[in-house]
Amino acid sequence: MRKPILELKNISFSSQKSCILKNINFKIYRGDKIALLGKNGAGKTTLISILNGTLKYSSGDYKVFDKNFFELNMKQKKLIGTFWQDLRLIEDFSAEQNVNCGLLGKKNFIFALKNLLNISSFKKAHECMKILDLKESIFTKNIKNISGGQRQKIAIARTLIQQPDILFADEPFNNLDPNFIIHLKDILINKKIINKLKIPETILISIHRIDLLDSFNRVLALKDGGIIIDLKKENLKDYHLNKIY
């Protein structure tokens, strides 16, 4: 029997600011490509925040690699990467400096210092940015002077350069042009372009576009703070989608 790498049991979360989650139960297995669906405000971002440990759940049990999430060691935590809808880039840094921040988990303090003084090697960051169709001319540009779509690609590059095993991504396909959406889907889900970059094996991505579901192998849907659908992609029918929206 396959062993889950991540398991949520009766997870609930309530806060004045965030949407409330009630009794969330699901398991994630190695190699899962999960699409997380739900209306705006259904709790997708809150669920991702709980999954990567940013938010502490009110009750329940959350295990990763058979351990309580908060008992994970540094090495295990580094296997998890997150892309946020609001990007969370460091303003005032250049594009390459921001992408290099993704390497902080793998490098030492001197690397961090060199990155700030702009004297570190940006080779890996440049490779990663090229994979994401970013032009060389913006590598050294300050993040403040870069368009929204390109900023989003930089945030994706920062997550990918971490080379996590598990990736949580909050609406990474929003605000991107149609061609690039297909390209990004190929990178993240179909693993078409790898070029020395290890693409996460297990992913959970929140999306709104139903036409992108094809590449995923599993669908999770949230409504009113609870999981209403947890199906293999091939078993998903139109009436299921009607239930969500």
């Binding site: 990567n52 997150t82 921040c101 902080l104 004297i119």
Partner: protein, 500 residues
């Protein structure tokens, strides 16, 4: 009945009414004996003395001033960053140390910040004698705390989501910390840190007035000898030095350095600050023999100092702060609306420059030539100096404002002054008051300077107590002085929050 609150415009103008009691008091104490001296002082501004002796002395004084100001500025920046980081919540969040340590450091910084550099100077001079190191340390102590406060405020503004996104990468704690704080610190240095060099030059001049060397000492000595032409040579030099420092900063420090130079500056700054730290620690651990002797008498003094006189001195200090703040806040907009034309603006710019240039102790000494020492006189000299600073800020902000509302009011036939008030000043009033509340913090600290010279408030008592080695009195006065400054800061913070 509807309750009507005062708006920012009225609050900017109303305090000008303090001019009435101040004027009455000054007129009552007026004596015309010194009027000739004052007119001689003013005329000498146009005829500074420039013979070879003066020039040789000037070069040596400028060297001393630059050395003290530059060293204290540099060290206060480096240690300001260090303490700003140590007192910030983000440091304890990332390094996982108890936050209470940060709170204790913050409290310590508040205490050392509340005492003006001149007071530190007077204290340290008594302990270590007249020495350039005393000048540097006296400026450094409050400046480190002020820089730390500003840096701390910037660090508290880092978006918690960005903090989380970097922590999620699970890098080395110090790597994450330095990545997050680097740019807020650099931005603070660019916006605020370099301006502190100008402040360090002014502080060096003020400390010089009390014997710690540099241009200030020459200014004081020539004033004492009533050599006004010589005095103006030093005053103009100070002005040129301040303008030149701004120019250097604008054109040298704010441009982008290449990567090699960046590394050299970074490593050089670290080495220099560590060496200075050891040097000054060594210096501070060897107080003079005279001090050791006088310290034995600490707390031997048994008098009823905590009595009527202390309360009276505290009252005088508070009154002095209020009067001077009122002048500094409302004089610039008041004069701007009265002299609302190009010539008026030009004259006011010149006047404001002179007010900024002449240190308040010299202003009060000039005013004393034809008046008696009083709270009004001290408030006027302190208020005018700070009004010079607030005027500069108001004027540059108004010049940068978009003028469409002003032009619209003008086009419908509104008088020019009304158009200025509603079309320009109204837009600026809130941020002007917010800045003034910050200026008021500085001004409360500065009451010590005019107090020492003008025989007013706690400043005067402090100098008396220090000179007579009455350490018990010194501690009580310092405590009272700190309390006034801290309470003033709390009130000003509340006011600032209302306007930002």
């Amino acid at each position: 009945m509807n309750k009507r609150n005062l708006n920012a415009i009225s609050l900017s103008f109303l305090p000008i009414i303090v001019i009435i009691p101040i004027s009455i008091n000054i007129l009552e104490n007026l004596h015309l004996g010194g009027i000739n001296l004052v007119s001689e002082f003013l005329v000498s501004a146009l005829l500074p003395k420039l013979n070879s002796d003066i020039l040789i002395s000037l070069i040596s004084r400028i060297n001393e001033t630059i050395f003290i100001a530059l060293t204290s500025w540099f060290l206060s920046i480096i240690f300001g960053i260090f303490f700003g980081l140590l007192s910030s919540d983000i440091f304890y969040e990332i390094i996982n140390l108890p936050l209470v340590l940060g709170r204790l450091i913050k409290l310590f910084l508040i205490l050392i910040r509340s005492i003006h550099e001149l007071v530190w100077g007077l204290l340290l001079m008594q302990i270590y004698g007249i020495n350039i190191s005393v000048g540097i340390i006296s400026i450094c102590i409050p400046y480190v705390a002020i820089n730390a406060k500003v840096i701390n405020e910037q660090l508290e503004n880092i978006d918690p989501k960005v903090i989380n996104s970097i922590l999620e990468i699970n890098g080395n704690k110090f790597s994450s910390l330095i990545t997050l704080v680097w740019h807020p610190i650099l931005t603070t240095l660019q916006n605020f840190g370099f301006y502190r060099l100008e402040c360090a030059l002014r502080s060096t001049a003020i400390l010089g007035l009390f014997g710690l060397g540099g241009l200030g000492t020459s200014i004081y000595l020539s004033f004492k000898a009533l050599s006004f032409r010589e005095l103006w040579t030093y005053l103009w030099s100070l002005g040129i030095l301040i303008i030149f420092s701004k120019f250097i900063i604008k054109h040298a420090f704010l441009k982008n350095f290449n990567s090699k130079l960046r590394v050299i500056i970074f490593i050089g700054s670290l080495i220099l600050s560590i060496c200075s730290l050891f040097y000054f620690f060594n210096f501070l651990s060897n107080p003079s023999y005279f001090f050791n002797y006088s310290l034995k008498n600490l707390y031997d003094l048994k008098n009823n100092f905590i009595s009527y006189s202390l309360i009276k001195l505290i009252y005088e200090t508070i009154l002095l702060s209020l009067f001077a703040t009122s002048i500094a806040v409302s004089l610039p907009p008041f004069l701007s609306i009265i002299f609302n034309n190009r010539l008026g603006n030009l004259l006011m710019n010149g006047l404001a420059f002179c007010f900024r240039l002449i240190p308040p102790p010299i202003t009060i000494l000039i005013l004393i030539m034809f008046n008696e020492p009083s709270i009004s006189l001290a408030a006027l000299s302190l208020g005018l100096h700070n009004a010079g600073i607030t005027f500069k800020l108001l004027n540059s902000n108004l010049n940068n404002l978009e003028r469409s509302q002003f032009l619209a009011l003008n086009s419908i036939g509104a008088p020019k002054r009304i158009s200025w008030l509603y079309g320009l000043f109204a837009k600026q009033a809130k941020s002007y008051l917010a800045y003034c509340s910050y200026r008021s913090d500085v001004l409360i600290r500065e009451t010590a300077i005019v107090g020492v010279v003008g025989s007013i408030g706690l400043g005067w008592q402090l100098q008396e107590s220090i000179s007579s080695f009455a350490w018990e009195e010194v501690s009580i006065v310092l405590l009272a002085y700190s309390l006034i400054v801290i309470i003033g800061e709390i009130i000003n913070d509340k006011i600032k929050k209302n306007f930002i």
